[in-house]
């Protein structure tokens, strides 16, 4: 395929011209043009709802653009469905993998690309192709392993192999590092660099500025459906990109004074939890949180942090000892639920605001008392005092800068950041002794992240204890006064943020301590 070179530079792999797409009254993509040179890594960065995913869905044939043209390798191409995208040489690695869990790697790879009605020849061909690909790109995966037995990092490699097996020249990765340890992410980047060397074109969608700076050649910034800038990565800085994303200057680090911790508020001793499937998720956790400090729990998601929050929040039965202000609390039975935890001064901003923290169809004002709806001061005889709740909700929303400040709007209609502010307002305004915070800024735009971090620090400065769980290592490092790293249901160690770095924490997150350096990544085995 010959490609007319554009202004003397490398030939283009993809060119989008004036792509627009509207969903009803919402303009998701507005006149977007973009050029991606062959053999380059192009980053697309933007906040949630900026239109990144819509644009990629158009490129992969999930949506049809209202207007605009797609050129692949210099030729105008129509992409009505994903089959057309694949035959145009586009491969996509989704954030949530599309793998059949109880199939082997090989079976997953030929799925949908079988050569004929019988599987054996396809599998044989796939095996040889897979061998070649593995050698070429450091993509080693056991072809006969069941996908459900693979670590997340390996599953992602299977997705990449799937795309390469279908002879993709252009690879789109949607938030690929969200579920990876720093070490796994580094490995992924090495793979991507290898692919680039072979002339593949890679589009990387992410909201992490660090990744953009680390690996991309060029970067496009999207804001509110528009492409606000395309720059060479070497000629920009994280601060400039953040400003382009949000439209104003933002503080990337957290502004906080040193902590002045007091006595222990929360004491956890040898906490064990077995889930309904019989898997031990917490294997003897011991941890203290003092008044006036933020203890951050770092770890790759799925290593027991969620379960720890559930146990502390009172909706999972556990064994062990938990003391709140010196008094033991029940871990099973009637007095182990969200209500009794709240009565003991524990407030909880859960990890998943859509399925735990909020009732999405409820109005904002109904949500501002969720979990506290039995408080006597909002009851009026047999009924709930809705007028009073509504009034207080409006005040809370004002103080926490929830936009729009309309308490009658359903929670589902707020953006991620504003939903999170509703939850935070509810929990922080109760002035709890201990605040549990899970993934406070997941799916939250940069502007709101700043505000949320400030509120958490403000509560700390009031002398409250805060237990923070986050998979964003940057967030843990900048917000915590003390960091505990969790791996496989255990605490691998505690560190002070000023005395550690990403590499050390990354090793702990992968289960490597000084004593067992010989076993780098348990899930690899």
């Amino acid at each position: 395929m010959t490609t007319p070179p554009k202004d003397g530079n490398a030939p283009l792999a993809i060119e989008l011209k004036g792509i627009s797409k509207a969903f009803g009254p919402v303009q998701a993509n507005k006149n977007i043009s973009i050029q991606v040179a062959r053999g380059s890594i192009h980053g697309i960065i933007g906040e949630n709802g900026a239109g990144k995913s819509t644009l990629m869905s158009i490129l992969y044939g999930f949506y049809k653009a209202d207007s605009g043209e797609i050129h692949i390798g210099g030729n105008k191409t129509e992409i009505p469905d994903s089959q057309a995208a694949i035959s145009a040489g586009i491969g996509m690695v989704f954030q949530h993998f599309k793998l059949v869990q109880n199939f082997t790697v090989l079976e997953n790879i030929i799925l949908g690309a079988e050569d004929g009605p019988m599987l054996r020849p396809s599998l044989a061909r796939a095996r040889s192709v897979l061998k070649k690909l593995s050698d070429e790109y450091e993509l080693n995966v056991d072809p006969d392993a069941l996908v459900e037995d693979l670590s997340v990092g390996h599953q992602q490699r299977v997705e990449i192999l799937k795309a390469l097996y279908r002879e993709a020249d252009i690879l789109i990765l949607d938030e690929p590092t969200g579920v990876l340890t720093p070490a796994e992410a580094d490995h992924l980047f090495r793979i991507l660099e290898g692919l680039r060397k072979e002339g593949k074109t890679i589009i990387l969608i992410t909201h992490k500025l660090r990744e953009i700076m680390e690996i991309t050649d060029t970067v496009s910034v999207m804001r509110r459906g528009e492409m606000t800038a395309t720059v060479k990565t070497s000629e920009t800085s994280p601060e400039e990109l953040a400003e382009l994303m949000v439209g104003r200057k933002v503080l990337l680090r957290v502004d906080k004074k040193p902590a002045h911790p007091g006595g222990n508020v929360l004491e956890i001793e040898n906490l064990r939890y077995v889930d309904s499937a019989g898997v031990e998720r917490l294997k003897g956790i011991s941890l203290n949180v003092r008044a006036g400090e933020i203890v951050g729990i770092a770890g790759v998601s799925g290593n027991g942090q969620s379960e720890l929050l559930e146990v502390l929040g009172g909706y999972a039965d556990a064994k062990g000892t938990i003391r709140m202000n010196g008094q033991e609390i029940d871990l099973t039975g009637k007095h182990s639920d969200g209500q009794s935890r709240r009565a003991r001064g524990i407030a909880h901003v859960p990890e998943d605001r859509h399925h735990e923290g909020l009732i999405l169809p409820y109005t904002a004002w109904e949500n501002t008392v969720f979990g506290y709806h039995r408080d006597p001061e909002i009851q009026k005889g047999l009924l709930m005092d809705n007028a009073k709740i509504k009034e207080e909700a409006a005040a809370k929303m004002e103080r926490f800068d929830v936009r729009p400040p309309n308490p009658n709007l359903a929670a589902a209609n707020f953006s991620g950041g504003n939903q999170q502010k509703i939850v935070l307002a509810r929990e922080i305004e109760k002035s709890p002794d201990l605040l549990l915070v899970g993934q406070p800024t997941r799916g939250v735009d940069i502007g709101a992240i700043e505000f949320i971090h400030q509120q958490i620090v403000r509560l700390r400065d009031e002398g409250k204890a805060i237990l923070l769980v986050s998979v964003e290592l940057d967030e843990i490092m900048s917000l915590s006064d003390r960091i505990a790293v969790m791996f496989d249901g255990q605490i691998m160690g505690e560190r002070l943020p000023e005395e550690t770095d990403q590499t050390e924490l990354g090793l702990l997150m992968a289960g490597v301590t000084d004593t067992n350096k010989s076993e780098p990544e348990k899930a690899d085995a």
Partner: protein, 365 residues
């Protein structure tokens, strides 16, 4: 916002569903060689144009209000209570026992006593599936269906072997005492020169049904329990986070649901038959599902939907009486309405939503 306004969702969708059902019903009537216009006017005439017709329409509607609310409560807790039929049967047993074995001095007190008894029996019958769901995870749809059959068998046994008066041939209790006679609409509204509601079975229970609608609204949207039921219905994980016990909500919501179904027996057993017969429920428990779906689990919607089905029942009976349209066809028409308002809801909603988006562009809600 890519949704249509709430009022359109609540009003236009059911309206179009009914129109579609009517249209297809008309085609069916045409196909068997009858005149749909004449049939429709006969139905309206028989159900709505005379007070006695209204008396029947409201009588059926009363049943459907109770069973509709029964299903609606469970819906709010995201449960599908298909057992309204069985719960109403057992509620009938409660009414019969209260009326037969307690010497009531006056119908008002009898009504209060029978109300409690009916609700208690209905709730008790719903308790077993609720408990099994809450503690054992046995799916409530399966268990409530099964319990309909068990209820029917229990009722059969009780009527044949226990409650049947000696030497009576049919499986029914003897007539209730005079003091438990509930005033019918005829008793209440007819005067010497204006014989309103003559011979029709509508009775004072209708007003209890209206009260139940109002109570339902307060319960669901104004009390703490309603707040918790709805929260649980929207998201069980969130309910757990908030410290709302799923076991408690499942059991309490089903008790209320079963109680409402039981209340239906007041109308059929105490108000109309004045004795307990087999099959007094006549499928009203199932119609309640359609009523709750069509009424969007809101008491006003349930009330209106119950009126519509009351009209269909009464109008259908008139049709069978005056035309050669067979009785079975009435069932077909009713089924069409149920199908369009319940099962095929989205078929109407999606094109409507598209229309709204088409014309609603620019003026966002």
């Amino acid at each position: 916002m890519n949704r249509m306004p709430a009022w359109a969702d609540a009003v236009l969708v059911p309206l179009f569903s009914i129109l579609l059902a009517a249209l297809i019903s008309a085609l069916v009537i045409l196909a068997i060689g009858e005149d749909p216009v004449e049939a429709f006017s006969l139905m309206v005439d028989g159900a709505l144009m005379r007070s006695s017709g209204w008396g029947y329409t409201l009588y059926y509607a009363t049943n459907f209000i109770f069973t509709g609310l029964c299903v609606a409560v469970a819906f709010h807790a995201r449960m599908f209570n298909i057992g309204g039929e069985g719960q109403a049967m057992i509620g009938g047993l409660g009414v019969a026992l209260a009326c037969l074995y307690i010497p009531w001095p006056h119908w008002t007190i009898a009504l209060i006593g029978a109300t409690f008894s009916a609700a208690l029996f209905g709730a008790a019958w719903a308790f077993i599936p609720a408990y099994l769901q809450a503690k054992r995870g046995s799916h409530i749809v399966i268990t409530t269906i099964m319990f309909n059959f068990i209820a029917s068998a229990v009722l059969n046994y009780m009527l044949v072997n226990v409650l049947r008066p000696p030497r009576a041939m049919d499986p029914a209790t003897g007539p209730f005492p005079e003091a438990t006679h509930l005033p019918t609409f005829q008793d209440m509204f007819a005067t010497a020169d204006n014989p309103l509601f003559r011979g029709s079975p509508a009775n004072v229970t209708f007003f209890i049904a209206v009260l139940a609608c109002i109570g339902f609204w307060f319960l669901i949207w104004r009390t703490r329990l309603g707040y918790e039921i709805r929260a649980f219905g929207h998201s069980e994980t969130a309910a757990k986070y908030a410290g709302i016990s799923p076991v408690r909500i499942i059991v309490v919501a089903m008790l209320i649901s079963g109680g409402l179904a039981g209340l239906m027996a007041l109308n059929t057993t105490m108000g109309e038959a004045e004795r307990l017969v087999m099959n007094a429920t006549e499928g009203a428990g199932f119609i309640g599902i359609a009523v709750a779906l069509m009424g969007r689990s809101h008491p006003l919607g349930v009330f209106l939907a119950a009126l519509l089905f009351g009209f269909l029942y009464q109008g259908g009976a008139e049709l069978a009486l005056w035309t050669s349209i067979p009785r079975e066809l009435i069932t077909v028409i009713q089924a069409l309405v149920i199908m369009f308002t319940g099962a095929l809801d989205n078929m109407v909603r999606m094109p409507l939503e598209k229309l709204f988006l088409l014309f609603g562009r620019g003026k966002r809600t």
